[in-house]
């Protein structure tokens, strides 16, 4: 390599950097640094004229190393590396100095920010002479996609990909796909029946030749990398042969265990030990619940299900099975859980009759629900008054600080449904703020106000059954400060609906770890960028969609699922993908064959070559963590792009100013 000629570009980023860092001073300083041939400033380096500066200097001045002092490399490193490559410079000879996120935005004092910017820049100026040209490693891409979670997000993503001709594996933990949406009665603000719009999609999944549905299954292990994932999925035993079961439900009629709380009805009805979760289930196959089946619990049973089953599909000896899938991309759409209102004891859920959750109300008002769609109290009587309590577990620093985004709207929907079923019933909405932000939502709010619903602005203080007067006797009383009237009210009602917020799934953290991405502070999956990469994760090739990323309504969920499908498609529609070449290599001349690196490699990417007596890196399996480099007692493995000499030079540079 000829003499190093470094070009330094310091970006103002409008006033984001320039407002805090004295850019002119930094540029003047940089011009005098070792190997720096040219130092320039520009208002927006990421703009075309900014990028052209880099290209021109490479082509006209013969610059062979570039450092751009600007934003985080997460934002624009690809932009500038591409600009360098377009001008004929190997992109790995360009470094970014992050003087925005790590400097101008976090430092109070202008002089201090300027000094820190110099240090950050100095580290990269010192590093660059040690950078070597690298070539991205091109690997083949498997065109199949795994979608995890069979709610509306997963269903939508799977259908889109299948439509594009891709093979899709759809894994669902429960016996049927459908998710929460399958439990809903109507959907806001259009009042479409949830089942009417969802079940055609469910059935399309079941029939699509491109979709292989693995229901009642869970992902156990994910290995590999972008374009080439190997996924282990555990298929739980249904104790029913799904090839022969016809879903006729004769077994359910025969089963003697008839008092198992029905999860699909939120425990408001009972099911049998052998069951099909709901009539439109996909796949429409029976499942035996091992916790309640007498035979599987080792108790005596005459097994009437076996006798009732025409196709002889019941198989008590079925074992779980682990299948291995090879896919190029993964979409994680594992949904949410309803916040458990037992935590908010003052509302009496689980203690007072007729205090119910929003999901329980969905089932109550649903024609296929436990009451056939009749909204009734526990005693079978329709309520004369209902209170709907907003923000239960949401917007509450004791529980979840965030807004769950859907509760205002579904609460309005409930009001409408109650008024439709029971026009004489009084409905009270106890709200903090009405958040009706979507298309047609504000109009829906107006419509509900015209339907004679009482809106009380105030967060409910307590729900009690202690009566203070004859009118309250035998009823529930909601205590609330009406902040518009400035009075404390006691509202006697017969039913209280708790509009519980949406929570991350109880095992969201473990699931995120399985797939190699993180969770946000609120527990939902962390997207790569909140605005520009809302469906990507830090792991290339793995996408997220739906309420597992943050609470969202059905329109947003479907939109996000489409975006995730497009992201996956943009990857798997290519024959190859380029992966970062920052992998380790081992000089066989220096390796003593001690095996230490073999043991520490998290991805089993280092093998011991018995014949040569040395360790060897399998480049395609190496993900570039560099753990082997730090572990070798002789410093033999080195990581391309993160050589010891590069890190040492960065340290020297950072401390040279």
């Amino acid at each position: 390599m000829a003499e190093e000629k470094i070009a330094v570009y310091v970006c103002h980023c409008g006033t984001n950097i320039g407002g805090k860092v004295d850019v002119e001073k930094v540029v003047a300083w940089a011009a005098g640094q070792p190997n720096v041939a040219v130092a320039r400033e520009y208002k927006y380096m990421c703009s075309d004229p900014g990028q052209d500066l880099i290209k021109q200097d490479i082509q006209k001045l013969g610059v062979n190393r570039v450092v751009v002092a600007a934003c985080s490399p997460t934002m624009h490193e690809p932009t500038f590396r591409k600009a360098a490559a377009d001008a004929g410079l190997n992109p790995f000879l360009l470094q970014m100095a992050n003087i925005r996120e790590h400097c101008s935005w976090v430092t109070e004092d202008r002089d201090q920010a300027t000094e820190k910017a110099k240090r950050i820049l100095s580290a990269q100026i010192h590093r660059l002479p040690h950078n070597q040209p690298l070539e991205p490693i091109e690997v083949p891409v498997n065109s199949d996609v795994l979608v995890v979670g069979g709610g509306i997000a997963g269903i939508e993503a799977a259908l889109k990909l299948a439509q594009a001709g891709k093979k899709v594996y759809l894994v669902e933990r429960k016996p049927s796909i459908g998710g929460h949406m399958a439990m809903f009665d109507k959907t806001f603000p259009t009042l479409d029946c949830a089942a009417c719009i969802l079940t055609p999609k469910m059935s399309a999944v079941g029939k699509d030749p491109n979709i292989e549905l693995l229901a009642y299954s869970e992902v156990e292990e994910v290995d590999g990398y972008v374009g080439n994932f190997t996924v282990k999925v555990r298929k739980k035993p249904r104790y029913v042969n799904t090839d022969t079961c016809t879903g006729c439900a004769a077994c359910m009629d025969a089963c003697v265990v008839r008092k198992v709380p029905n999860e699909f009805d939120q425990g408001l009805s009972k099911r049998t030990a052998i069951y099909i979760p709901f009539p439109q289930a996909v796949p429409l196959r029976a499942t035996i619940d091992p916790d309640n089946c007498l035979t599987l619990r080792g108790k005596k049973c005459k097994q009437p299900c076996v006798a009732a089953c025409g196709p002889k599909a019941i198989d008590f000896d079925q074992k779980d099975e682990v299948v291995e899938l090879k896919v190029g991309a993964i979409i994680v759409a594992t949904g949410f859980e309803l916040w458990d209102p037992r935590q908010e004891e003052r509302y009496g859920y689980g203690r007072l009759d007729n205090v119910i959750t929003s999901l329980e109300f969905e089932r109550l008002s649903n024609a296929s629900g436990p009451t056939g769609g009749h909204i009734v109290c526990k005693n079978g009587e329709p309520p004369k008054a209902v209170a709907i309590l907003h923000c239960v577990g949401s917007r509450d620093e004791n529980y979840q600080e965030f807004c769950s985004r859907v509760c205002c709207m579904y609460s309005l929907k409930f009001s409408h449904l109650i008024k439709e079923h029971l026009p004489e019933t009084d409905v009270y909405q106890l709200y903090i703020d009405m958040r009706c932000y979507g298309k047609g939502y504000e109009e829906f709010y107006k419509r509900i106000m015209d339907e004679g619903v009482y809106f009380v602005r105030g967060r409910a203080a307590e729900v009690t059954d202690v009566a203070l007067n004859p009118e309250e006797q035998g009823r529930l009383v909601v205590k609330v400060e009406d902040t518009l009237l400035g009075v404390v009210r006691r509202i006697p009602v017969d039913m209280v609906i708790l509009s519980s917020g949406l929570s991350p799934a109880h095992d969201a953290k473990e699931v995120a770890q399985t797939f190699g991405f993180g969770c946000s502070a609120n527990g939902f999956y962390l997207e790569r960028h909140p605005k520009l990469e809302p469906v990507s994760t830090v792991t290339d090739g793995i996408f997220v969609a739906g309420a597992c990323q943050y609470p969202k309504d059905i329109p947003d969920t479907v939109a996000q699922a489409g975006a995730a499908a497009a992201g996956a498609l943009a990857l798997v529609d290519n024959a190859t993908v380029k992966v970062e070449p920052t992998v380790s290599y081992i000089d066989p001349e220096k390796c003593a064959g001690c095996h230490i690196c073999v043991g520490v490699c998290p991805h089993s990417a280092i093998q011991y070559n018995e014949e040569k007596g040395v360790a060897e890196v399998i480049e395609a399996a190496c993900k570039g963590c560099g753990v082997c480099v730090a572990a070798c007692p002789a410093g033999v493995p080195q990581q391309r792009g993160f050589l010891d000499e590069q890190i040492f030079a960065e340290i020297e540079g950072a401390l040279a100013v």
Binding site: E101, H102, T107, S520, A521, V538, A630, L655
Partner: protein, 160 residues
């Protein structure tokens, strides 16, 4: 800022969690002292004891190593290697005559901008309280006698 001692700190940040946590602190405009200069590695497990010694020898008064929380490592268990190594490096620092508190290991996730702010602020104050490190005075002699400690001593201390 008059006579106050301004420590020099090197922060090794893993690319997936802590570097992004630092980015989030920036995006959220959380202010913290300017004393730490970050150096990015793919994994905190890439941080070699020699990097830490090098930083001290080049004039750093403190070194921060930050990675993903246990279980969250992008490379499955790279951060467990870090967790195993750092106590040994601290011991080594002690043997060299340095205060082990000059090295700090922290887990900062990509979602923990506030934690990043807090850690850097706290650590800066801790190092300020410890005062400047005079490597030459503390270690210089031993270094001369033992050859290059970076290559010799630290490497032997690395656990498998």
């Amino acid at each position: 800022m008059s006579e106050q001692f301004e420590p020099r700190i090197i922060g090794f940040l893993c690319r997936w969690c802590s570097y992004n946590g630092a980015d989030l602190a920036g995006t959220s405009r959380l202010k913290y002292p300017p004393n730490m200069v970050p150096i990015k590695t793919n994994c905190s497990g890439r941080v070699d004891p020699t990097h830490i010694l090098k930083a001290f020898r080049e004039g750093a008064d403190g070194v921060l190593v930050a990675g993903c929380h246990p279980g969250d490592c992008h490379y499955i268990n790279g951060n467990y290697r870090t967790a195993g190594r750092m106590p040994l490096v601290k011991k080594l620092l002690e043997q060299l005559g340095l205060e082990p508190g000059r090295l700090r290991l922290e887990w900062v996730s990509a979602a923990e901008g506030e934690k990043f702010q807090r850690v850097v602020t706290e650590f800066t104050e801790e190092i300020r309280a410890l005062g400047p490190l005079d490597w030459q005075a503390v270690v210089g002699e031993a270094e001369g006698a033992a050859g290059d400690p970076e290559a010799e001593m630290a490497k032997e201390a690395v656990p498998a």
